[in-house]
Amino acid sequence: MRFLLTDEQAAFGRSLEAMLSAADTPSAVRAWAAGNAVPGNALRARLGTVGVFALAVPEEYGGVGVLPVELAVAYVELGRYAVPGPVVETVAAAALLARLAEHGEAGPAKRLLPALASGGASATLTLPGGGPYALDADAAAYVLVVHGDELRLAPGTGALRASSDPARRLSRPAPGGELLASGPAVREAAGHAADWAAFATAAQSLGTGLALLERTVAYARQRTQFGTVIGGFQAVKHRLADTLVGLEFARPLLFGAALSMTTADIAAAKLTAGEAAYAAARTALQVHGAVGYTEELDLSLWLRKARPLRDAWGTPSECRRKVLAGS
C-alpha cells in the first residue's frame, strides 16, 4: 500500500504544468472558440511530444503502454489550463481502437493509433449510451461513430451547434461512412472506451475545479471592500474552504479509479469530480461578483467548462446508477 504518486509521476505533472503555464492557453481557448484551431492544434502537438496522448496506447501502436495514473495526472493539468479540443475523445478513441486490437481487430488500430498517440492527429467519437453529439468534429482528424455492433468513420461532421462553453462545438456526425469493424467486439470495446472517456473527463473536471479555486482565492486575497480584503470575511472563507473539501475528496476517487479502472469506480470519480468542479464554478462566480459574470475575464474559460464536463460522458444520475450496480 502506497497510495501516493511516485516521484516520477509527480514530476511528470509538474513538467506539464510548467509547459502549460508558459503557453498562454487562454489565448488558444479564445482562438478555438472563434474557429481558429491553429494555436490549439499546436498546443496538442506539443503535449503529444511529451507523451500525453500515448498513455492509453500499447507500445506496438506508438504508445507507451496503458498508464491510467499518468493519464489522470496529465488530464488534471489539461483541465487546470483549460486546454481546448477533443482531448478526452482522442484518448477514448485510442482506448476503443486498442481494445479492438486486443479482440483481434487490429486493422483500425494500425491505421489510426500512431497518429493519435503522437499528438499528430485528434479524434472525436460518439458511443452507444453516450450523448448524441460529437465534440469538435470540425477540428478532429477522425470522427468515429459506434452504432450497435458497427464502428464507422463518419463521412462528415454534421451541422455544428454551439455549446454553452464557446470552446466546445457539438454535432451529430453524418450517417454512414466507411465501416472499420463490426461484431460483438465493437460493442465491448465501446463500453471500455466510454469508461476511459468518463475517467479522463473526471481528471479534466478536477483540474478545472482546482483552477477555479486557485483563481478565486487569488482574487479574494486582493479584492478590497469595506476597507479590507474580502478573503478575510468568514462567509467567503467558508465557501472557499468547502470548495477545497469537495475537490480534495474527488482526487483520491480519481486515482483509486486509475488503479482499478472498473466502471463503478470510474463513475464514482466522475460524479464527485464533476460535482466538485461545478460547485467550484458557482463559488468562483459568486466570490468574483459582477466581473466574474463577464466573458472578457479569463475566469469565464473555466466557468463555462465546468457544467458541460459534469454532464459529458456520464451525467451525475448515470454515474450514480453505475455506482449502485457495482456495489
Binding site: 497510495f3 479590507t228 470575511f233 468568514q234 475528496f249 483520491p252
Partner: protein, 382 residues
Amino acid sequence: MDLRHTPQEDAFRAEARAWLAANVPERPLPSLETEEGFAAHRAWEARLHADRWSVVAWPREYGGRGVDLFTWLVFEEEYFAAGAPGRVSQNGVSLLAPTLFDHATDEQRARVLPSMASGEVIWAQAWSEPEAGSDLASLRSRAVRTDGGWLLSGHKTWSSRAAFADRAFGIFRTDPGAAKPHHGLTYLMFDLRARGVTVRPIGRLDGKPAFAELFLDDVFVPDEDVIGEPGQGWRIAMSTTGNERGLTLRSPGRFVAASQRLVRDWRASADPSDTALGDRVADAVVGARAYQLFTYANASRFAAGASIGAESSLNKVFWSDYDIALHETALDLLGADGELADGEWAEGHVFSLAGPIYAGTNEIQRDIIAERLLGLPKGRRR
C-alpha cells in the same frame, strides 16, 4: 500508486475476521450512553483486550500488537463490518493515549496505558467550559500549586462519557498572569471520583446522559499526573486535537460498513421508482469510498515521513457532514419507522448530529482550512 495490502495485512485481516465472527455479541449491546450499556461495553473491552484486539496499534508492552497504520485501518474495516459494539474507551484511546505516547514519561505510560487498554479505567475528556467552547483558550478553570501537586477548581462541561467514566484529562490555567490566553495552561489527568469532584450528567438530544458537566472544588492532583511541562498544556492539547480530527477519530471502516448496510437495506425495502433516494444511497457509497481512499493517502504520507497538520480539518468537515447525510438517508428509507427511537439507525443519527460540533466545530475547521491551506487572512470578521 498501489492500493494492495501486503500478505501480512491480509493474514491479519483473516485473523481479525475470524476472531470477530466468533466473539461479536449476536445482539447489539444496550446503548453505551446508559449505565447498563456502559458496563456491558466495558466488559466487551475486557474481552477484546484478553486476546489483544483492544488497541492493536499500541506497542505490545501496553497490551497492543504494535501494528502500523495500514494494519490498524484493516482492523477497523473488519471491526465495523462485523457489526461489533461501539468503543466506550474511545476518548482515552484516540485522544489521551497519543498524547501520552508523545509527551508523557515512561512511568506515566506504564501506569496509565494498560488499564486503559483493558477497559478497567475509562477516560473522559474535560476540555470545554461554559464560557470556553470554540474559544477554548479562554478557559478559566485553574490549577493552583500545593504540596506535591495541584488543586483544581472550576467548571468543565460537555465532557463526553463523564457520566459513567473513571478518570478525565484536560487543560487548566496554572499561570493567570501569562501574556496570552493559550500560555500558562497545563495538561493533567484527574480522578472523577476524587474528593471535590461533582459530576452532573447531561442528557443529549435523545435524553441519554452522553456527557456531563464537572464542578471542581479544590480537587487534588499529584505531580505525577501532570503531562509534559506545566505551562505547555495548549501545545500538548493541540497535538491531541489533531489526532481527534485527523486520522484516528473516525476510521473509514465505520463509514464503509454503514454504507454497505444502507445499500443492503435499500435493496431489501426501497421503492425502485424512488430514484431520488437511490441517488442518495449512491452518494453514501461514494462518500465512504472517498473517505477511505483519502485516509489511505494520508496514511501513505505518514508512512513516508510527512506529518498531517491543517489537512486534518478537511477530514473532519467531510466525515461529520457525511455521517449526517448517511443517517438521514437511512431514516428516509425507513419511512414512518424512521421516527422510532429504538430503530436500527436512530441512535447513530442522534450521534451524527453532534459531529459538526465536537472536536472543534466545523466553523473553526473551515477557518483553519481557509487560513492555513488556502492562505486567506486570519481572523473572524463579520
